[in-house]
Symmetry: C2
Subunit: 721 residues, 2 copies
Amino acid sequence: MDTWRLKKTGFDLTEAARDGNRFLCANGYMGLRGTVEEADLAQFPAITLANVYDRCGDRWREPVNAPNCLFVRLFLNGRELKLKDKQTEGHSAEIDYRHGIYRRETDFGSLRIGSERFASMAEIHLLADRLRLEIEEDGELEILTGVTTVIWDINGPHLYGAAFTAGEALSCRAVTGEKGTVVAAAQCVQADFDADESFRQEDGCLYRVLVRRVKKGEKLTLSVFGAVCTSLDGETPAQTAKDICLSAKKEGFDACLKAHKDAWEGIWARSEVVLEGDESAAQALHASQYHLNCIAPRHARNLSIPARGLSGQTYKGAIFWDSEMFFFPMFVYTQPEIARSLLRYRIETLPGALAKAKEYGYRGAYYAWESQEGGAEGCTNFNVVDVFTHRPVRTYFRDKQIHISGDVAYALRSYFEITGDRTLLEQGGARVILECARFYISRAACRPDAEYAEYADVIGPDEYHERVTNNAFTNQMARHCMQSALKLEEIFGDDPAFLRSLKRELNYEKDWELLKTLCGAIRKPVKRDGVTEQFDGYFALEDCSLETVRGRLADPREYWGGDHGVAGTTQIIKQADVIAMMALFPELFDDEEVDANWAYYEPRTEHGSSLSACMYALTACRTGRLNEAWDMFMRTASIDILGGGKEWAGEIYIGGTHPASNGGAWMIAALGFAGLTMRNGVPEVHPNLPKQLKRLRFPITSGGRRYMVYADREGGRVELL
Amino acid sequence: MDTWRLKKTGFDLTEAARDGNRFLCANGYMGLRGTVEEADLAQFPAITLANVYDRCGDRWREPVNAPNCLFVRLFLNGRELKLKDKQTEGHSAEIDYRHGIYRRETDFGSLRIGSERFASMAEIHLLADRLRLEIEEDGELEILTGVTTVIWDINGPHLYGAAFTAGEALSCRAVTGEKGTVVAAAQCVQADFDADESFRQEDGCLYRVLVRRVKKGEKLTLSVFGAVCTSLDGETPAQTAKDICLSAKKEGFDACLKAHKDAWEGIWARSEVVLEGDESAAQALHASQYHLNCIAPRHARNLSIPARGLSGQTYKGAIFWDSEMFFFPMFVYTQPEIARSLLRYRIETLPGALAKAKEYGYRGAYYAWESQEGGAEGCTNFNVVDVFTHRPVRTYFRDKQIHISGDVAYALRSYFEITGDRTLLEQGGARVILECARFYISRAACRPDAEYAEYADVIGPDEYHERVTNNAFTNQMARHCMQSALKLEEIFGDDPAFLRSLKRELNYEKDWELLKTLCGAIRKPVKRDGVTEQFDGYFALEDCSLETVRGRLADPREYWGGDHGVAGTTQIIKQADVIAMMALFPELFDDEEVDANWAYYEPRTEHGSSLSACMYALTACRTGRLNEAWDMFMRTASIDILGGGKEWAGEIYIGGTHPASNGGAWMIAALGFAGLTMRNGVPEVHPNLPKQLKRLRFPITSGGRRYMVYADREGGRVELL
């Protein structure tokens, strides 16, 4: 078994959306969905751009898809050769995880096509595709390659005023509706055969038309180079795109491919987890690391990663807490410059968080639940469409998921603790922590006649239960955030002027005193038989099985959460919540307590989010539930192979890749199975290997030093490289 | 036009439920729905008992319906004479508001029947019905009269183990399922004709069978006496019921009727509002006063009145804030002993309110939203059934409608201010006010960094908007409750020991200090252009018309409120909220402000509750919007003539009479049109008569003195009687 490859035979239109995710190529700048070259809109083809957003009318703002510059259509003797909606043989597609290469093979009878394609990791604007055609029937072959603005959009259209130019490099230049961002795509080709070339513009597409008489047995190779640039990258995006195409053509496909593969080898050298003992697991872990690595913003210093990566426009292309909780760990340990970028995104979007807190009548920083460019809140008040009435449903994710600010502060502090690098705190990180802590001061509610403070009317990680009080996770995140603010005094013990001046600038003196008292006054959760109550009143909810709850669905696509949902009034939860807290704060809970909570909550968890299984697996490793941990790991790591996960929230398509699971897979392997921790800036391992695993090996970076971590059935060790 | 009568010709089964309400007879002890004697369950016949509740399985607890002891069936020559499902002529029914007498006339062709029936206001256990039969066809007449346990129940059955006895008085004795309360009904008859008498028991019914040969032209009269007693009334309810029946028979129908009418004359002497200028209005006001007077608990000293009166089992027979806000005013001004009973009910159910506060983690008294016997909360967490999924929907009426405690305290203070009678405060009322104020202390939320306190996550009078913060009405009610607590110091200025000892007993010293600071710190509402924002964020909700919102309904019976409802996310409100506050606290707002709020909110109000129009009318009187006030008055006063109002909440039948509107009609006439107020214990009038009205005259009682209030177009006066 080649653990670096995923290959699938046959094609089914109903699986096309999943295939687009499964076979995604991406390089952090853009994502090229894994659809065939000739795909029409029914297959959801897209080149999704990072950090370019547009809002069309009053629909949701979402990432912009570029004009498709790798569009290829084939006609032999006047018949178009197109993948059928259902094709059980004669077609296969694969993704090469090692080098991020998509390949397809299709036998149309009269012609066989094979292609390999990538989004260059060496030149982020470049896409390249090499097609090999084997002719099985004499006649006239017509190849249309071009740039098309007929592209899949969920809440589009986003591109207006498309202007095309023909030539050696074709180009298309359009602007987005909301902000007038120029999006340009170019394309050129290199053929190893002669053909008549002409150009045809129709239906929002500029085609390059190659016509040639062909004979059975002939083999032709055509390389297509595409490039995408926007006005966010520079002043003349259309010209730059053309230049990049032509330059790639000049270098040739093989040279481009080599540069791309070399870049990937560099990534793997820093991050590859070598897993021995189970090939499916190794493949799944490769898939996970591939999918997370390919969407990392290596080209930027201040970008984060959307919750569905670059696999499309779902989840509005927004940055969620997934970034800090699930993407951050792999990067901070293997490629800390990417972790820094994720956090700089938060530092630079502090103004948006300050504005959001103010909007709700609070002080400090309340980060967007779905953060788009500049930290603008992308989450609306109506995030679900009711399947029965087709009306939008008021949801409270935007208003009430206050743990987000604590999540940001948690990652900022972790970054310092894992890397020993204080510069990020100095360059805005400390300010963010202080402003987040200030938010928790102002969001706290104190009863006039009681000693404690509480967080009422919040949503914890388990989104099925909206508007709860004293969510244990949220209270702990708030407490930790406030503790982290106070901790800055110690972190900057050698430079008290820094903190003093920052506090002065932020007018923070009074808040600092409040922090000291509030920190210890936040309500502790209720416990029953050692089990932490997820929020006030949770134990009083109907305690029924997942199957019972599922059995109450009146429509398979209806939303489970909120007061109308089947789960909202029961103890069934969407995802790890108390267990997430225990995974993130292992030092606060002993093994017995973690185990009791695991035993209680796991059967009550739908795992309806890709953020769930990872937290359960991490805690299961700790308490020796290694079979369960293994199952959770496989579920987490395989998600983008199986293409599972929820694809609908009410009537809204939410499918895509699952970077949080991808990051979770690394977390389970490294932090769970290998038991990696940092103690005073030095990595340690305490392996908890399930029986299926023989050994693990992976590199990490910390404090400027590189290490190799080894874990096997006898124990573990960390070697300085 | 006879303004004391409502007569209706024809019959339609689809209107039977409404007719049952329209033609209700009641005497505070029980309500006899206005259905014909022979009605089967499709017509919703019932004898609904006050203060007897039962819960069947896990369904809602609701009032118990007694066995029907006025059941009569007629057979002529073997054919049953029964009202048809649709009968446009040959049938009429009427209610006599002056004396609470139901009459029906039906021409079956072969026989004409006329009856008059009442629930005795002189002997509360007694029901009496006199039937006059005119024979139009020779043959054999069979009359079945009896006691049947085949009765309409919404969430039944409630009666078990029915035991029947035959004799001069028939009886039926059964026990309720939950608490084993004995419910007994008896029946006897007096005929002016001879007949063969026998008894027949079948299908849960014991019949007295009278058989007689009849001739065309014969006229027969049969009086049926029914009596209902329960074990809450005494030890031998079945025997007592029989004794009452037989005693009534001995006295005769006419004597019973006279005693009943005399009792009603006494009620009218104390409460009748004489309205001149519009006969429809006079009739509607008679209807309103009748419907409220007939359900007053004159036989008890500590009962209140359910929100649907005694018209059936809807609203669980529970006591709502309607009692204090809408029933209380007419009674406190006309029959203060009834007002005292309503308030003693609250005083005696304080333990239930203390328990409810504790259940939610608060101190003090949190009254039940739907209060049943002993103050037990009848409101469930699922008060609506979704029409699309047929699943119960989580609603927050029980948890969040915290203004209820303030409403109770408001009425207690009003009672003292209107009557000058301090005894109720001494006998538990002051304790209730202090405990309610304590609840508002503990329910308040203070921000660590702000000076004010707020009430977050509440529901105000407008139930369509659940879980809002700083509802202006609620904040004002809480503030007023705390002020009333502090006011006790002044009220008991001549007896400081009383309050001192009460505070000591309640361990109230610390709370007393908190009251003083908190009272002034409760967040004031936001105002925009003089309009008070109903709650934080209300103005930011979608501002669309009532018609737009109605147009979004996907099912006519779906619930409008909550996050799923069509109104919940818009500015459309169910009922007066800010305006209710302004009506209840006129001294806090000047005319201009009231008018600005009226103009803003009225078009945004669905008036989907019978509690709405009255508040709008009262404020409209004040600001000279007399045409609008007139319309609202007519709408309010006519509700139980028209039989309108909402009859469905989701899939739940909520029809019945509308005592809150009935009380509201009196309030508009007396407090609005006549402009009655109390100033230092002395009544004053400042009439605001709409052009349709010539004059008003009504008696009131205050401070042990009786007055007649006059209002006409020239002005008003109060005369001591």
